[in-house]
Symmetry: C2
Subunit: 357 residues, 2 copies
């Protein structure tokens, strides 16, 4: 009920507070302590990295779906098929964070001997931001590439009206020496659906190009989002990317794609059979890691030093935003908007556990 | 000098005529008969597939660069490094078609045992359309994924003016059962530079969104293309894709990227050190090929059957255009615009060989 202006600094939660709270929550709904902690670490890292829409913000929804029976709290995550450079992981409908951590570790391990490894995943769930998994191989001097099928269809075919595709994202992460890591994490739509929701919450209009209505007219009012659909980047090109990424991350792994995608915002009872894939590329198989990282630095510095368009202050490299957030938030904690704090308090109360603070 | 209207049907060259002529040309400049034939088959296939900008249209430029000493006509293409699921191919500055055919065959062979293989390429040259190589694994019941560094920088960083990036393309190809193959082949810019040249030749204006001038204003006159630069799909997202694809296809392989990219349109004497990479994914490692292809059909048919936006007749699937071109041209031959025929006649005359027809 307090009226906070934009100028009021938000209360910040420390990494420890967030991890402890999220762990408490998952343990209460039946996830083992060690697995709850793993999920909590990854969700907190998402917030530290500035991926607010994919961190603790999702906690109430995750718990609602667990309580609805849509997610398995005691999954037996296993390798269903494997070869020297590939694996197919069956997530047994467990929390996506656990499944993707398992799959990424498998990809890293296989890439150490095979040079490159591609691990597909089925029967998983929403796993947070794509960059979380693409970045894991970087700590091992590898390049990470991640694709996923989104958990709600907001995108039709180019020229179509039936929303058969999701905002299927791609993330690629690679190390620099003094620059970087360079981390691209993007939906194949102009705006992710979370951005539309944020505009609606703030009572703001959307810029032209984010959404279109069923007559093909620009849709600017986020309150009317249900009357239209998201637009892909580059028109038919983004549609093509969303389709191919979905076939690779979903269909190839026996996971949901197209008409089979479950809207996990609206449905609390049905397993999503979410598909992802993660590729780990061992840089040292191609050249020395240092030489690669140095060359990445040269490219990055040339781009930064570029002459700029009128009105542009600085050139951004993919990953700059999350780097700045990480620097700030790992020291000062994660800013918590009042609406989020209130939702988390309600969640704690409903579970009968201690609140975040 | 003949004035042809758009209604005049163009003379069509058969596959055999094109292959024989291109082979003759390359043999004359010092490439062995068998290698000349390989290049000719791939260039002709590009035209049959409807990739006009990347087929025989490029022949005069290729020959100019060979005569200028920029390309090695007797390359020793070799595997510089390899592991179970990766290879790094040194193209020894040979024609890109030969280098990429070698690299793709290596990727397919390694994927047969490892499940997936990723082959990087350096010291190569322009190799024609991306889809040519992404499609090769499909004939082996595999999925192909191809990335490349383009051979001219027309794209700055988002917000920048220095053209440090190319239109770095991606192609992904996979089989359907009765539908497909589904083949995405796209530049990371809204328009490829070839399309700008075509508009200039035809005396047409470009639509807004293709190019921008150095003040950030839309550039519509293709005659003024040198005063501006191409725009990436989805703004900073397409810039991010062009950058990451370039780091993967160029930098990781020790190939040119950023400031090192040679403009092969303007320069006839310098080796381009072109980088590409090709990934082959053995579908049978994940599930039966038939089951995968059936599921691809379901997705494709759902998209095609989608309700349509007002004014839209049919939903296109990536690869539909090249499929239609292939059906027509493998039967009826490749339509040859008079300007192209004239350029090829001049080329034949300068080399002292029989013309195309």
């Amino acid at each position: 009920m307090t009226s906070l202006t934009d100028a009021t600094p938000l209360w910040r939660a420390s990494r420890e507070q967030l991890e402890a709270f999220i762990t408490r929550v998952f343990v209460t709904v039946g996830i083992s302590g060690i697995e709850a902690q793993s999920i909590a670490q990854l969700m907190t890292q998402a917030d530290i990295n500035g991926s607010e829409g994919h961190g603790i913000f999702r906690l109430p929804q995750y718990i609602r779906r667990i309580k609805g029976g849509a997610v398995n709290v005691t999954p037996h995550i296993k390798i269903e098929r494997e070869a020297a450079a590939m694996g197919l992981v069956d997530g047994d409908n467990g929390m996506g964070h656990l499944v993707m951590r398992f799959a990424t570790q498998l990809a890293i391990q296989k890439a150490k001997s095979a040079g490159v490894a591609w691990v597909g995943v089925k029967s998983s769930n929403h796993a947070g931001p794509a960059s979380l998994y693409a970045s894991m191989p970087v700590a091992e001097n590898m390049i990470g590439l991640y694709l996923a099928v989104g958990n709600a269809n907001h995108l039709p075919a180019w020229g179509g009206l039936d929303m058969l595709l999701s905002t299927n994202p791609i993330a690629i992460a690679l190390p620099g020496l003094e620059e970087g890591p360079v981390i691209l994490d993007m939906a194949t739509t102009v705006a992710a659906y979370g951005k539309v929701k944020t505009k609606a919450q703030r009572g703001q209009m959307m810029p032209e190009g984010w959404m279109m209505d069923r007559k093909g007219e620009p849709l600017l009012d986020p309150q009317r989002a249900h009357e239209g659909f998201l637009l892909p980047i580059g028109g038919y090109k983004g549609y093509g990317l969303a389709l191919m990424f979905g076939l690779l991350a979903g269909t190839l792994n026996g996971a949901a794609m197209g008409r089979d995608v479950v809207d996990f915002n609206a449905d609390d009872v049905t397993a999503t059979n979410t598909g992802h894939c993660i590729v780990a590329i061992d840089i040292s198989a191609f050249q020395s890691v240092e030489s690669f990282a140095q060359k990445v630095d040269v490219v990055v510095r040339d781009l930064r030093a570029s002459e700029k368009l009128p009105g542009v202050d600085s050139i951004r490299i993919p990953g700059d935003g999350s780097h700045a957030a990480r620097e700030d938030r790992s020291k000062n904690g994660v800013p918590m908007p009042p609406a989020l704090l209130s939702a988390l308090s309600q969640l704690a109360e409903s579970l009968g556990i201690d609140p975040l603070h």
